[in-house]
Symmetry: C2
C-alpha cells in the first residue's frame, strides 16, 4: 500500500466488537444465548442520527469493507472502490456500518467460536442461520450503535437478500433499500451448484462431519473445489473468454494431467487461496442461508404480498452477463415492487463481468449508485 | 423389458471385438502397439456397401447404442430412441456401426486394459487420446468391416466433434456429416467445468495418481462429484425449474446438512449411479479430449480454411436451451461451412431440455433427423 491509496480511502480502521447477551431465537427454532458481532464504521454519525448506511456482505465477505487495517496491508477492504471520502458511498456524508455476519469466520460468533455449553468450538453444531436471523442481529447492532433508522441498507448477491429482508421485517427502520445482483430466491440450478460445493466439502475425508478441529485437520481440498466451482459461476462466459480464452499456460498442450490452459491455473489459484483463509463450516452455513431464502413463505408464496409491507424506496441493479443471478431475477423483484405500488428505480447495467460485476468499479455503476445516494444525502440534509 | 420393447428395437444384440495389431501413432506422439475395439452393428450392410452409418459417442457413452443385451435388461442402448427398425436412423435401410472409443472403459482397450509392456493395467499411463486418434481408429474399424465410405457419420456433443473431424481428415469416406449439440472447440468456461471435475477426481485420496487399481481402491467420491457437476451443465435452468423447482424432499426445511431439496437428491443419485459404473481414468481422458479439440490448429486457427477440405454434406442441429454448447457455437461452425461453400442444413430446435436434448426423442428432432436420413437413403437407392 502506498500513501496515495491510504489518502483515497477511509484510511486506517480498527474493527470493534459488540457483545450481546440477550438470547437470539433463530428461524430454525434454536437459540444463541450470547454472541459477538465484529464490525467497522466509516464516517461520523450526525447529530440526528439520520445518515447511517448498513452494508450487508455476500457469501465470503466480512466486516472489513473499506480502508486498511495496517500500513503494510496490500489490499483494502472488499468494497473500498465504493466506500470512502468522495466515493459512491461517501463517508464525508454517511456513517457506514459493516459487520461480519453471525456464523461467519472473521470475528463474529460462528462455528469456530467456543460453544459455552460444551466449552469446545461449535463446529457443525452451530445453528443454520437464515437471512432473517442475520437481519435481526443487525437490527440489534443498530440499536447498540444508536441508529433507529438507516438512510439506506445496501447489499449485493446474498447481501441483497439481507437488504430485501430488512425492508420487509423492519419497514420503519430504513428509508432506502439497495439490492444489487441479487434474486428474490434461488432457482433449482442455483441450489444445484451450492449442493455440489457442499458435497465437495462433505466428501473430503478431512471434514470429519464438520469436527475437523477436533482432529487437527481441515477439509482444504473440498473447500478449494467448492471455491473453484463458485468462481465459474461468478464470471461470465464472455469475461472468461476475454481473460483466458484458450490460452495455454506453457504455449503447448502437455498430453498429461498437468495444467494446459490458463483458466485451469487461475481456478487452482483461487481455490488454493480461498481454502487457506475461510472456514468450511461457515461456507456450508452460508450456502444453506442462500438456498433457504424465500421471503414469500410467510405470504402464501406471493412476492407482491410479501413486499407490500415495505416502506423503503428501492434501487435495484443487475448486470447484463450475470448468469448466477440474471437480470430476469431482479426484474421478478422489480415487477413485484411495482405491483405493490412501491417506489423503485431499476437499472440493468451492461457489463462483461458476470456476477462479479457488483464488486467491480465500472463507471456506469459508480455513477448510478453515487447519484442515487447523492439524492438520498441531499434530501436528508447532510 | 417387455416383448413389445424388444419388438420395437433392433432386438437382442451381441457386442463384437475387433483386434488390431498395426501400431497406432497418436496425436501425443506416443504409439499404441495393439488394441481392441468393441462394437455393435444393427441392420445389414448392402451389397455395394453404401448404406453404412457410424455413430460416435459422447463423454460417457459406449458401443451399446441400441437394442438389448439380454431379455432381462431393464434399459436398451443409449440411443435406442433413434436407432432401430422404422426409427430416425432406420436399421431396415442402414447398416449402423457403434463402437466404444479407444481409452473407454466398456470393452475397448483403455486404462483398465493390460499394458503389454508391463503386464499390468495401463491406469494413468494410458495415452491421452485426441479426437483425431479416435477417428483414425474408427477408420480402421471401417476397413475391417469392409466399409470404404459411410453414408453418414453421426454424433452428438463430443460425438459431433468426431463427426466433424471425420469430414476433415477423411473427406472421401463420408457422404453426410451430422453434428448435434456440439461446438467447433471448447470455451474457457467449458474447460473450467471440466477442470473442476478433474480436480474432484485428483483430490480424492483414493485416486492415488490414477493407480487406484494397484491399491484396490477407487476414487468413487471424486467421480460422483464430477458427474454431479456435469449434470448441472447437461440440464437447462428451465428444465431444472420444471422438474424440481424448489420442491422439498420431505415437505420442510431440515436446518441441517441433509437433503432439503429434490434437486439435491437427484444429483446425489446421479453421482452415485455413475461412480459405480465408470472408470475415473477414462473420465479424465475423455474430458482432456474435449478440452484439446480444436481442428483449426493445423490451419492457422481459421475454421473456414479448416472445413474447406471437407466433401460431405452437413446437417447441424442445436437446441435452444443448451448452454453447454449453445446454438451460437453451432452457428460458428455453420457460418464457416457456408463461407467455405459447403452444403449445410442447420436447425436450432426449441427444447427445454438443455444439452441433454440430443438424447431425448422430441418430435421435431426425430422428424428432422429421420427426414434428412430418409433423403440420404432414397438418394442412395436403399
Amino acid at each position: 500500500m502506498n500513501t496515495e491509496n491510504l489518502k483515497n480511502s477511509v484510511g486506517l480502521v480498527k474493527p470493534k466488537i459488540a457483545s450481546f447477551s440477550d438470547p437470539l431465537t433463530l428461524r430454525c427454532q434454536r437459540q444463541i444465548e450470547e454472541y459477538d458481532l465484529i464490525y467497522e464504521t466509516y464516517g461520523e454519525l450526525n447529530t440526528d442520527k439520520s445518515n447511517a448506511i448498513l452494508i450487508c456482505h455476500a457469501l465470503s465477505g466480512n466486516h472489513h469493507a473499506a480502508g486498511y487495517h495496517s500500513e503494510t496491508d496490500k489490499k483494502p477492504g472488499w468494497w473500498d472502490t465504493c466506500i470512502g471520502p468522495g466515493k459512491a458511498i461517501d463517508t464525508n456524508r454517511f456513517f457506514v456500518i459493516s459487520l461480519n455476519n453471525l456464523g461467519g469466520c472473521d470475528g463474529s460468533t460462528g462455528p469456530k467460536s467456543i460453544n459455552p455449553e460444551t466449552g469446545k468450538a461449535y463446529g457443525p453444531d452451530f445453528p443454520i442461520m437464515a437471512v432473517r436471523d442475520w437481519v435481526k442481529s443487525q437490527a440489534r447492532l443498530a440499536d447498540y450503535l444508536g441508529v433507529e433508522k438507516f438512510a439506506a441498507v445496501i447489499g449485493g448477491s446474498l447481501g441483497g437478500m439481507q437488504a430485501l429482508r430488512w425492508s420487509i421485517d423492519y419497514p420503519e427502520r430504513l428509508d432506502h433499500c439497495i439490492i444489487i445482483a441479487s434474486a428474490p430466491k434461488l432457482t433449482a440450478q442455483n441450489i444445484a451448484f451450492n449442493e455440489v460445493a457442499r458435497q465437495a466439502i462433505y466428501r473430503d475425508p478431512d471434514f470429519h462431519e464438520g469436527r475437523y478441529m477436533d482432529f487437527n485437520t481441515y477439509p482444504k481440498q473440498g473447500l478449494a473445489l467448492a471455491r473453484m466451482l463458485g468462481h465459474i459461476t461468478y464470471l461470465s462466459d464472455d469475461s472468461m473468454r476475454q481473460k483466458f480464452g484458450r490460452d495455454l499456460r506453457t504455449g503447448k498442450l502437455n498430453f498429461g494431467f498437468d495444467i494446459d490452459f490458463e483458466i485451469e491455473s487461475y481456478l487452482r489459484y483461487q481455490g488454493e487461496r480461498f481454502s487457506d483463509q475461510f472456514d468450511a463450516n461457515t461456507y456450508l452455513l452460508m450456502t444453506k442461508a442462500l438456498d433457504y431464502f424465500d421471503p414469500t413463505v410467510d405470504h402464501d408464496g406471493d412476492l407482491v404480498k410479501t413486499v407490500s409491507q415495505a416502506n423503503a424506496e428501492f434501487l435495484v441493479i443487475s448486470f447484463s452477463t450475470d448468469w448466477r443471478f440474471s437480470p430476469e431475477r431482479s426484474e421478478e423483484l422489480v415487477n413485484a415492487l411495482i405491483a405493490a405500488n412501491k417506489t423503485v428505480t431499476y437499472s440493468e447495467l451492461e457489463s462483461p463481468h458476470g456476477h462479479d460485476a457488483f464488486l467491480i468499479p465500472m463507471k456506469d455503476y459508480i455513477n448510478l449508485l453515487g447519484g442515487y445516494l447523492d439524492r438520498v444525502a441531499t434530501e436528508g440534509g447532510f
